[in-house]
Symmetry: D3
Subunit: 248 residues, 6 copies
């Protein structure tokens, strides 16, 4: 159930039986010479629609732009500052909480969002904790980064081993092959496996990782692997949602 | 050309010949008992893809959540505060400006965004005007609200006259029928034409406009009218984009 | 009735019969080689005093500095950022609302303020809409830009036609001649009618509009026309105030 | 020389020989049952015009609303939060600094502004100190609260002794008698000399100081004393301005 | 009683009989060639522990970093912007107020903190004054800068006369000799008595005060004087605390 | 080398050979009926002094108050909001970066700080990444939470097994026994091992974890174990510092 394709009386009715909502969140950032700039938003979006189809979860519109300041050295990357993303999440959650939602299940597509999202949850909780909004029910948050779900990690280790890497991973590129296949590019990549290292600002990032990849060889990615990973992710995410959403 | 489905080398190449980008922006908010919560984001998104198809414009991911505080009394509405939306637009524009983009063409689907977007453009310009970012080129913005394009207003006046209204308009509902037909709901609406009045906070709004509509009778909306309006909007928007983007 | 020249028991008494207040807001910015830097604040101030004299409206101190970042390239211009002006309006309104005011009637002298003021009203409404200040009554705002009142537009079209322009207009310069005559300067202007164009940052503005004027020939301005426009503006503004303020 | 009544070429010329500007700042807040709500803005305004007349100082528009949160329990009081006033002062100063002003002389009418103004100066300096605006010249600020000038304190001690008080002082009421005489009210005050005590929030303030006065008996105020104090203040302020402004 | 060395049940018990807490606040900034960078935090810390020992006051952790933007030109200086320090004080106070503390006694070691702390208190009060937190009790603040206590000023005038100065004072250096003697450095200072002047940004500061001192000759400082000043400060501060804390 | 006990010429000299600094960061929050409120600040402080003693690292003053909103339901807990802590870290780092520091090594004592600190690092990097501070060298950050160092985890697993828990852990209580022994309290704890669960706002936290502990039995803690853990932590932290600081 996509919130965007429903009406307000539909949501009013949904709230009779559930206080939970699923929010896909991603990023728009370089994914190397061949990965799509939208990879990190497209993946949680396709997975969220899968969860909704299987469980009846209500899904909010995808937050397509995340915290990706380190990628800004590569054209097409778009980032919110952490402080801006905190404000966005706060307003989105507070909007829904004012209508009765109490449980927020984020399906995340981008590692760079994790810390800021957790900070945002604390910023929201603080309104109650400091006594500013003592009438508001206590809100509950869960954050699931799809590529870290146990079933996904298991499959991806089998499929790609060390070549998986940590940015422009074989897994995420495979999932976009599966979901958005016709758009995938092929270009020569050199070195075959990209370098690794710490992440700093965008200038530092581009000098350490000249084509944008970190530790990966995404030429191994393919649509079939993407489907396998899609199923693995859905299995774990649907279970997590159902556990989360069953609490009144 | 959807930025999300391209790679960074594609954008690097695009920047060789253009400094312009199109950004669809909408809202997620109640559209009465039968209109989709996503109406205001889905309309600029479908139009932007049309513009891209016809002109080769590069389109950024749709900003699906806008400034809709007055709708929060109806479940499913999600809003950013004006100050948050200003920060989002500032970060998005500054991200792209750091890579060489200088001209930003917003295709807007929601009247409530207009004032805040114009304030955001001034907030961005201020960095240059106060001498904080004097090395940055002067950025140019245009904001086009699709339903206000002359060809759209002409068609919509012919098609719906007074019943068009100003929220949950026949035009926007028709465009969603055309673009997302299977999702449309049918429910009895009463009164046939909704009341009019000023817009305040969400409590005031819900008391003045009990089912969410303002001045409209969206039962007149239909997919055929939607297609007519789609073509009218594209005609004007493509012309505006081409005029805007031809300036180096 | 100027609030600055009254006492708190006077205001306490006023609140027995009215919840409405008039707030003049302007700007301090270049008005070409001959127009006063204070034009946009002086005009709403003189008009507001006229309204008060005729209707008994309570008028707050004039907010003399507005959002004028695009004029900063000309010495003497002073601007608030949009985000600062939002904070100012929010604090002013919240101060008065804490004492029982509920209806705020802004008389505006500067086009550049409009978007930011509307954003500010939404920012204030949001405190109620998100459930942060649910005990506060719903506040009502009206924004009247004096040069856009129908009677003023009619007179100014008759008096100046195309030469009116859109910045350093014949109308506003005439009104300052009428109200602050002795201070007006005379200097040669070239070209006679100033260029037109879009508004960006202050560097862009000064390069497009070298002497500060946009589309106008203020040599046509005169005190007699100023008096005509003053009366036209008062007629419409007094009517608007009385309609607004009669609502309890 | 009032900036509002000058043109941008006038200011351009002024900057040839001076980098200094005088900014009057006040407050809009209760001044007891008989003092004007505008007292703290009207006093620095009339004094600043006097300084300008005698020294040729350039004076910015009066900032009429200051930091007066503690007075909000009395109707008609209007306050900015400290954080808002810091932003206002920062924008005003940065506007003028971008045009070549380097020396800012504040004439202040309200004790509650002092701490926040000093914090604002540090906030502005910090842009240079943290290396954010290393190209900007070092700005200089002076803050003169008119009632604390030595000549004023001497006269006011002679005239009123203990009855001067610390809010709604005999001195400030006298100065408004002198400058805005016809507007002054007469009402019985009880007790004759108001209580003293610490200042907290507006609820605490109103309970400690039931009619708004602190420690004063403003029935002693009169226009003649006002003129004496006006001359005393001008003497010291003109000397301070000339010393400040002579530094290139 | 140091809060850091207690448990939450200890504080719960303390709150049965007292609503007051002592908060030491300092700064980390250059103190000339021989004074410790921590001087302004170490002094209020040692004094606060003394107060606690003699009166049973509860002391919060020392806020060791204050507002010292003007010192940033000297390595090792660390500053918060005024706006950041306001936020810190607001969060610290609001944390404790949510648990029942109502009276906050700041022992301050740095002149540069004073204005910002007073602004912070007003920022906190404003939540009540604007009607945002009307359920919260009115909070009370006192700010005591140890070197300004009457007994300290008397002793320091006797001990050092003019050589006391206003930064890197003989008094504060003596107090650190007494409390942290082994860490004190000896280096030649020239000129013997440092220059005086106004304080601006860090670049201006370093050019006016080349070794960091203002108006002082800290070679006169010594541990014996430090002990005298310690006792003088404690005498006044303990009396002030007891007066403050006895109010329920 | 404690920065607080050094002078600015000492730091100037240090910067000749190193661009690295160690910043201890903790929290002030309940640690159950027997653990010290200062535990999370005292532990990184004592460890940092140990690192400094063994490696010559320069250590900044301990940031004693962190992000602990969830603990506010227990008296004595003090928290910064995430947005405030981001501002603090930004100002501290920017202060030091303006003087030539480029490498920042945080030794952390509180799990609740981790996400916000990582967000803060990105907020700082963003100034370079968006082109706002392109002259600044790229800064490097490392964040080490002492209890997560491999040697500590190994020892703590041997010593306490499951009873370690995740708040008021046996390890941190042991370390405070070792470092601040005389202050430790003994009170009966029930149940012996505290419950586990997710962390939300302070109201939710106190209802899930009635005495403040999560999953731990701190009655097993002791000074001898504390010393073992201290040595384990120092071993790993000194190695990490030396690796980090050797990079020019
Ligand atoms: Ni990715
Ligand atoms: Ni719509
Ligand atoms: Ni104008
Ligand atoms: Ni006053
Ligand atoms: Ni000091
Ligand atoms: Ni802990």
């Amino acid at each position: 159930r996509r919130l965007q394709l429903l009406t307000w009386p539909d949501i009013e009715e949904y709230l009779q039986s559930s206080r939970s909502i699923l929010i896909p969140i991603g990023s728009t950032e370089q994914h190397g010479p061949t990965g799509l700039l939208g990879t990190d938003a497209l993946c949680p979006e396709v997975l969220s629609r899968g969860i909704a189809a299987r469980t009846g979860a209500l899904i909010a519109p995808t937050l397509s732009i995340g915290m990706a300041q380190h990628h800004l050295g590569f054209p097409g990357s778009i980032s919110l500052r952490p402080s801006t993303l905190i404000a966005v999440v706060r307003d989105v959650v507070t909007s829904l909480a004012s209508q009765g939602f109490e449980r927020f299940f984020f399906v995340n597509g981008h590692g760079g969002n994790i810390a800021t999202l957790q900070a945002a949850f604390s910023e929201i909780h603080a309104d109650v904790s400091y006594g500013m909004q003592s009438n508001r029910p206590s809100l509950q948050f869960q954050l699931h980064s799809w590529w870290m779900m146990p079933s996904v990690r298991a499959r991806s280790a089998e499929l790609f081993g060390e070549a998986e890497g940590s940015h422009v991973t074989c897994s995420e590129v495979s999932l976009t092959h599966f979901a958005h296949g016709p758009h995938m590019k092929s270009r020569p990549l050199s070195p075959k496996i990209a370098p690794k290292g710490p992440i700093g600002d965008s200038r530092d990032f581009r000098s350490r990782f000249p084509d944008g990849r970190i530790g990966s060889d995404p030429t191994l990615a393919n649509a079939e692997a993407g489907e396998t990973l899609y199923e693995a992710a859905l299995e774990d995410l649907c279970a997590a949602w159902e556990e989360f959403a069953k609490t009144a």
